[in-house]
């Protein structure tokens, strides 16, 4: 019956003309269409690799033997996970401050300097592929980058519920019988203001870029043994083998598009090279040199690493409290680090 009715309906519709009309977009509507790329948000995200065996091979010791690295206890979830034992989903990114993938002109991709000023770091009239974490907010709406630690800034966009707990354990099978362990657990981790930008440099005929990796975390604990194994069971034994970071952040800046792009390269004889060239190399005119250098010192992003409290072997009264006991190394900080020149290359042994 249903089929018959459908066929009849189709037959009846055939002689009729569709009344819907296509309309040209007017100038006003067209003007609102901008090629600003995509926003990405992951709603209710949870990653748990506990039941998978991930192995990293081909890293060899001095005698050329493979040292397999087992990647265990890899997880990402909401804060309050108690080192991954109580995993809950978390939103990665916000609808108003999403992760983004854009192809834009260099002059349209502005960057926040540490003082909150928006500056252009990329050459003008050049198409740049940009992959960026949620942007920073200088002004109203800014969130604490590290909760309860004002020195990390109040200019992040992720709220406390959008930060994540993440962890990983690496087992280095150094020899058949010996295994070295590094177990890392972050709480309240966020990456606001990070980005990777790539473009083609015509003069160098190669792919170049600039990257900024910002990591803010309330705590980071590095444990050097496998929990539950001999000598690593009681809270006291584990504490004795733990390095505690509290209120910590790292802002790595690699490259400044205008005068010091990051060069990713493999040489013609098959070796990997990572280079940050001298910003004023090859400029003979002294006035231009001074201008380029002044611009570099004023606007190029700097690398900062800060650990508000570093402690070996203490114990925390609560999950995020500064540890007591053990060896307190206090506050450690590297700030305003700028690379004038950097070249890292691989060599066959």
């Amino acid at each position: 019956m249903m089929q018959k009715r459908t066929s009849l309906a189709v037959l009846l519709m055939l002689p009729l003309w569709a009344q819907a009309e296509l309309k040209a977009l007017d100038d006003e509507s067209l003007a609102s269409v901008t090629g600003a790329g995509f926003g990405l948000v992951i709603e209710d995200f949870l990653y748990d690799g506990t039941n998978a065996t991930i192995t990293i091979n081909d890293i060899t010791n001095s005698t050329g033997q493979n040292v397999p690295i087992s990647v265990k206890e890899l997880y990402v979830g909401a804060t309050g996970s108690n080192k991954g034992s109580n995993l809950n989903p978390v939103d990665i990114g916000r609808l108003s401050y999403p992760w983004t993938l854009d192809l834009v002109k260099g002059e349209n991709l502005k960057t926040f300097r540490d003082d909150g000023q928006l500056v252009q770091t990329l050459p003008t009239n050049l198409s740049v592929l940009s992959f960026a974490a949620p942007s920073k907010i200088f002004g109203a709406g800014g969130q604490a980058c590290v909760s309860g630690f004002a020195a990390a800034g109040n200019n992040c966009s992720m709220r406390s519920t959008e930060k994540v707990d993440a962890g990983v354990r690496f087992d280095f099978n150094v020899t058949g019988s010996r295994t070295d362990v590094i177990n890392m657990d972050f709480t309240e981790l966020t990456m606001d203001g990070s980005y990777l930008r790539l473009w083609g440099d015509t003069a160098r005929q190669q792919l170049v870029g600039e990257a900024r990796i910002n990591l803010y975390a309330k705590t980071l604990e590095i444990l050097s043994c496998a929990t539950g194994t001999s000598g690593c069971t009681s809270a006291q034994e584990q504490a004795a083998r733990t390095i505690y970071f509290t209120n910590t952040y790292a802002q790595y800046a690699l490259g400044y598009g205008k005068s010091q792009p990051l060069l990713f390269d493999v040489t013609s004889n098959g070796q990997f090279v990572l280079e940050l060239p001298n910003p004023v190399a090859g400029i003979s005119n002294s006035t231009t040199r001074n201008q380029v250098a002044a611009d570099f010192y004023a606007n190029a992003p700097r690398t900062n690493i800060l650990i508000d409290n570093l402690n070996f072997g203490g114990t925390r009264a609560s999950a995020t409290a500064v540890p007591t006991g053990g060896y307190n190394f206090g506050r450690n900080e590297i700030s305003g680090l700028s690379f004038n020149y950097l070249k890292v290359s691989s060599h066959d042994l």
Partner: protein, 194 residues
């Protein structure tokens, strides 16, 4: 029950249909929304039994391989080689290589649909008020002998430098292998950004 249905069907077929079809006006059309989405499950096997480029040698001694033979085993083991992907980032430079990609990968319940977001998200949803493309991640992904190697080389294609191409140079930086079940859940929301 069947006979009743048949009777109804016959009665309907005999009667002329009185309802008249009317063209939808613009307003009506604008209210038509596409519903539903796609639910995907799948299993992929990439180069599990070797690719088309190389056949598997019978000996671990590279000097004795023929030009079309290659083994990707470690410590003298003979293993088929997976897919190779080479990217050159400089006009006259060398190559970044993702080599030996092979294995079995399966998932259940990857979904794809569109969705209007106008609430939730800690208060961001109401102001957002637009459609997004939603990619629902599968709860579980299973891997079996899934491997890849990250390397740098002086040319895109692999060649046997023991016998045929002495100048060929490749350095494996590291390689990875995944076995077992990974739990990945969440919805990837994709939308145009203004």
């Amino acid at each position: 029950m069947i006979s009743k249905l048949c009777a109804i069907a016959l009665a309907c077929a005999a009667l002329p249909v009185w309802a008249e079809m009317q063209a939808l006006d613009d307003e009506g059309l604008s209210q038509v929304e596409g519903q539903g989405g796609v639910y995907l499950s799948g299993e992929f096997s990439v180069n599990k039994n070797g690719g088309v480029l190389w056949s598997t040698p019978t000996t671990a001694n590279q000097a004795q391989w023929t030009a079309d033979q290659r083994s990707c085993g470690r410590n003298g083991q003979i293993e088929v080689c997976g897919l190779r992907l080479g990217i050159r980032s400089e006009a006259n430079g060398g190559w970044f290589v993702l080599d030996n990609i092979k294995g079995i990968f399966s998932f259940e319940g990857l979904t794809l649909r569109t969705r209007l977001i106008n609430s939730g998200f800690g208060g961001d949803g109401a102001a957002f008020n637009q459609d997004v493309l939603e990619l629902g991640l599968p709860n579980e992904m299973k891997f079996k002998n899934t491997t890849f190697s990250v390397a740098v080389a002086n040319q895109g294609g692999w060649q046997n430098n023991k016998t045929y191409a002495p100048s060929f140079q490749q350095t494996n930086i590291f390689s990875g292998q995944i076995d077992g079940t990974v739990r990945v859940q969440g919805n990837v929301l994709i939308f145009p950004k203004n």
